[in-house]
Symmetry: C2
Subunit: 687 residues, 2 copies
């Protein structure tokens, strides 16, 4: 059977199942796990204690990664690529931790990260009724949206409590349910171990999302509280034997976003507008960064985190767009939606209300086309340079802080401020050369997209070329100093007046707010309401077997350790395979192991499992999640999916989509025999 034929069949099966989760599909809330499926398929019934243990062992790392606590002394396991930003911020031209790796054999040698925040989900509560109750009869969609946002801010603020905790209301099912999450937050996070980048991302962009794979994509941090290693109530034990082919495994992590419940019209917006626009920016940035990095070694070093991020994102969205452009996938989605529509019509009772929801979403997305490009361009430009992004936050903070908390833009409400300040005042080093490059790119992007005579472009360039203007703003940016940023915010913006970067940011603020309001009123609010209706229809049809789309919050996935039969790709790679892959691509930088690996080769057990695949349902944000067995013991560390999994944003592909983990045995073998990190290996494997 060809790939196409097989895929078509698989998708037909997806369609036939009618939108109900099947096989090992699903990113489940820990508060409503798929008990029947687990019992029926795996004869496994998770207890409340087990779920609570996993909830407090799994953590969120930084803005978008996962991790887990793996020792009684607060050791946190995550991916090298999740820790990459933090490791880069600890690196200098002289001490290049990305290139050379790092190991702290003692607590004293551990390096404090400038701005890494790790969160543990402490407890959750359903606040759907309170949020829904804020909407009064007669409100239109925009008014209802504003009322909900205000209520959410209020709930978050009331919840706050102790300084070490943060509260967040999570929107589930695109608006059908709202849960309040309370996190314990750690800001004293120290680097314990990371391999060389070439080992962590062995094979680079070429092998990314491929299998067999040979990456030791791991990093260890340690949580500190009051200057001492944190002593957690819950942490994960190391499996003494590792995973076996056919074994049931679980993944606990923070999948970032899926859009599986989107209507077909909404998916078409993704396919025809959002993704082409996003990819065009990725391609542009990737080529420009390569040019910058190619100029000299120091440029290459400082651009490394951006380059990793952009090549990864480009591959993710390329896979997703390819899926959406495949008539088989879209056909399956159409069939699935037809069945839901039929159910709604058969149901009768809510037919008019629920069917109208499809139309409301289609119409909102149609309207969004009119200002999508302008909004995406301005957002991308502002986020394109670190200093401009910060200046923009300072400009907005200055405007927002005097307002009551629940009337502010949500990211500036009181509960959000501590985390915002950690990032905003981070003492991370900033490369002037890279900032000039990125701001030049951002300004020329504006001109390319909006046209050279657009008033915003004319104002932003102020009569100069993009590069000249970028040089002026970056070189003149007082806010490059964290203390100056703090003074600007605390002085209510008073001390920022003469900073050219602040002036530049202020140019974007009014139009950015207008476009945001337009989006919130005409798109988001309408869709919240419409998706809540469609979720009600799905619940009526399939009950608990509908899981919410991923929202960057804690979820459980499960599945079986297995390869891809059709491609005859086995479930495990080995350390021996790593050396073989290096030989196969001799001379290529991304496949060249450091000297310490070559020296350790004799000592290593080459048959040690190194990476493995399972059919767990994961997506970006799951990186760094622990893969555990039914006893909750660590058998692996999620770091990637295979190429077939890239359509996971919109549909789960159980036939060929695979999560990829670093094998717990490979991790320990490398720590002991390559890195002389026996103490760390002992800490992990102690029972």
């Amino acid at each position: 059977m060809t790939w196409q034929a097989c895929k078509a069949l698989m998708l037909a099966m997806v369609a036939a199942s009618g939108g109900v989760a099947r096989a090992d599909e699903g990113m489940w809330l820990l508060t409503s796990p798929p008990l029947e499926t687990l019992k029926a398929k795996y004869n496994f019934v998770p207890t409340q204690d087990w779920l609570q243990h996993m909830q407090r062992s799994a953590v969120r790392v930084g803005m978008g990664g996962s991790g887990s606590i793996v020792s009684p002394d607060g050791l946190v396991m995550t991916n090298h690529h999740v820790g990459l930003g933090a490791i880069a911020k600890l690196s200098t031209k002289e001490r290049d931790l990305l290139k050379n790796g790092f190991y702290a054999p003692t607590r004293e040698a551990e390096l404090k990260c400038p701005d890494t925040e790790i969160r543990m989900l402490w407890e959750t509560q359903d606040v759907t009724d309170r949020v829904g109750g804020a909407v009064k009869p007669g409100m239109n969609a925009a008014e209802a949206g504003a009322a909900r946002r205000k209520m959410i801010s209020q709930i978050e603020k009331e919840c706050q409590g102790d300084a070490g905790f943060r509260c967040q209301v999570v929107t589930l099912y695109q608006g059908a349910k709202y849960h309040l999450y309370r996190y314990k937050v750690f800001n004293d996070v120290r680097l314990v171990f990371s391999p060389e980048e070439v080992v962590g991302s062995f094979g680079g962009d070429t092998d990314n999302f491929e299998f067999p794979r040979h990456s030791l994509d791991m990093t260890f941090f340690r949580l500190y509280e009051n200057g001492q290693p944190y002593k957690p109530e819950h942490y994960l034990r190391w499996s003494p034997s590792g995973a076996k082919e056919g074994e049931t495994v679980f993944v606990f992590g923070h999948p970032g976003r899926t859009r599986r419940l989107y209507t077909v019209d909404h998916l078409k917006f993704l396919r025809d507008v959002d993704l082409p626009d996003r990819l065009a920016r990725y391609w542009r940035t990737e080529v420009k960064l390569q040019g910058f990095a190619g100029r000299n070694a120091e440029n290459a070093r400082v651009a490394q985190p951006d380059m990793r991020s952009v090549s990864n994102g480009r591959k993710v969205y390329t896979g997703l767009l390819a899926g959406l452009q495949d008539p088989a996938l879209m056909g399956a989605k159409v069939a699935e939606e037809s069945e839901l529509r039929s159910f709604i019509e058969r149901d009768g009772q809510h037919a008019q209300e629920w069917m109208g929801a499809f139309e409301a979403i289609a119409s909102a997305e149609q309207g969004y086309r009119e200002f999508f490009e302008e909004r995406a361009t301005i957002d991308a430009a502002v986020a394109g340079s670190k200093l401009l992004g910060r200046a923009f936050e300072i400009v907005q903070l200055t405007e927002e802080l005097p307002k009551p908390s629940n009337e502010r833009l949500r990211e500036y409400a009181d509960p959000a401020l501590p985390s915002l300040y950690v990032r905003l005042y981070s003492p991370e080093p900033i490369s002037e050369a890279l900032e000039i490059e990125k701001l030049t790119q951002a300004l020329s992007l504006l001109a390319e997209r909006l046209g050279g005579d657009h008033p915003l472009v004319v104002k932003a360039l102020a009569g100069q070329s993009p590069r000249s203007r970028a040089e002026q703003c970056v070189r003149g940016a007082a806010l490059a100093d964290p203390a100056a940023r703090k003074a600007m915010v605390e002085g209510g913006g008073a001390k920022s007046g003469s900073d050219p970067m602040i002036q530049l940011a202020a140019i974007f603020d009014p139009r950015s707010r207008e476009l945001r309001k337009l989006y919130e009123d005409k798109v988001e609010s309408v869709e919240r309401d419409a998706y809540a209706k469609l979720a009600a229809a799905r619940f009526a049809r399939a009950g608990e077997s509908v899981y919410p789309d991923a929202t960057g919050t804690l979820r459980m996935s499960f599945g079986t350790v297995r390869g891809v039969d059709r491609d005859k790709v086995p479930a495990f790679s080995t350390i021996g395979g790593l050396f073989a892959r290096q030989a196969e691509r001799a001379g290529e930088a991304e496949f060249t192991l450091p000297a310490r690996w070559m020296q350790a080769r004799e000592a290593l057990d080459l048959s040690t499992p190194y990476n493995f695949t399972a059919d767990c349902d994961i997506i970006g944000g799951n990186s760094g999640s622990p893969t555990v067995n039914a006893r909750g013991e660590v058998v692996g560390l999620i770091f990637d999916g295979n190429i077939y999994s890239l359509t996971g944003d919109v549909v789960y592909n159980g036939a060929e989509g695979r999560s990829i983990s670093v094998d717990s045995r490979g991790m320990v073998e490398a720590l002991r025999k390559v890195y002389g990190a026996g103490a760390l290996a002992d800490e992990l494997t102690a029972r």
Copy 2:
């Protein structure tokens, strides 16, 4: 003085001079050289004999390169990167001439290129009156355009004569003048020498458009006629001493296109619509080709010519767009146009007619915005795959050939057919893997740009994903065989019916024709007429000192050998500098000399000049042009411009823009001491 300040000053000077060529500006017709300037500045008066000698020594190589005849036995000198396509077509997995270079020590060893055509400009004639006379009173712009096109076809056909000649009417000054060019055409072209690609393009994308530079960007072909080396009446002698700093030099070549006479509104279309669209496609293609090439060595080999071409084009258009986004450059253009407008108003007599031309162009470009993206996307998709491009030509030929020659689309008129057939029936090897990749890219581009539900996209994909459809069309393409292509054309398309690639091409044909007609009627015809008026205004104001924009036809530039003072960059690099540059970028593939260079190092005179710069006015298409001294002797070989020259498409930058040549002395030194090609060096330097 900062770069910005200096550039602003320079541009102000451009503006102040009011559109009259100054300093060493200009790509001059050999029929109207700037005699006064040459006399005044260089005390040099070219004779008719000298110009005729240069005209018949300079040749056009392939579709868009330059070259020159440099021996009595028909040796042609051009760039490695101009010969790249031909060299790649002579390469196989086993015999990789790009990687290893090539030298034929005997005539017998020379390799015949599958489809390289070299043209020598035999004679020219002004046919402005005949073309203009085709337009009858009362015709609207579209009718006038059609009448002119029909007359041009007729003139070309009448001119044809001997089989070894081709005629072409060239549109000068965007439509103010028409010249008939008659070329002698060579199709038996054989490869004599080319260096390894890494030597030809030393420093790759990083050093491209930079100086100091260290590229031996040369290749030698030989012209054959009736199976024997061609004995030319004219050929260039080698200078015994090479060029000196401060010396006057001349460049004879085929600059591809400039748009210096464009109105400001037309330039804004370039800045805001055309270039952003074009660059977005370059970025996309570059990233996708890198992914393809990264998969294995054979992919890398077959993708090499495309990758070179796309990274080069990307750099060219990036530089041009940066210039257009610089308010200083656009301000200078506005000032220049204001002066022309003032002149027109002062002149009075033609004021209404001439002033209306500005408005007509602005309005045509505004209208073009409405269908530009669709047209650019379809054109790019069709040209994106070699096999699809050929299928498209077969489809169009089938439709056009039955019509009378001067009623056909111009590229299918009788005079154009011989060259078209050489390309269309070329036996060059075609990589199935690369074709599938490129067609996949082309089909997904269509879907990205036009949307997945666009009728053309739905038809083109035929219910499959872009990749699956590409596999089907490429694997099923009978026309991959040159004999099958010939049979299809000669059978009037009758034998092409079941070829899936032909079916795919046929889907694009109708809409492509509609959009072309729309462009010709609403944009091109209007602008031809309007620019003819503006050219009349410029002539009235500045007489012969206005040269026409580049049109891919033979021109003469001139200038002085010099570096860039402001950057303290000298005019010459040396062979010693080549080794130093390698040491500086140790370990990078694009900076790693082959073993034979390392072995020859001792024997080489490291002080030999290797590359040099001059302020000659050149642009893409000039690649491969001879740089000659006032005696017409070869002192160098144009292969690039510096980064400042990249705005040359719209404005000449005499202050910092530089042409870059391989030095004639470096060429001979390398031939003798690195490549053991003494016989070739002797042939070049014989007096």
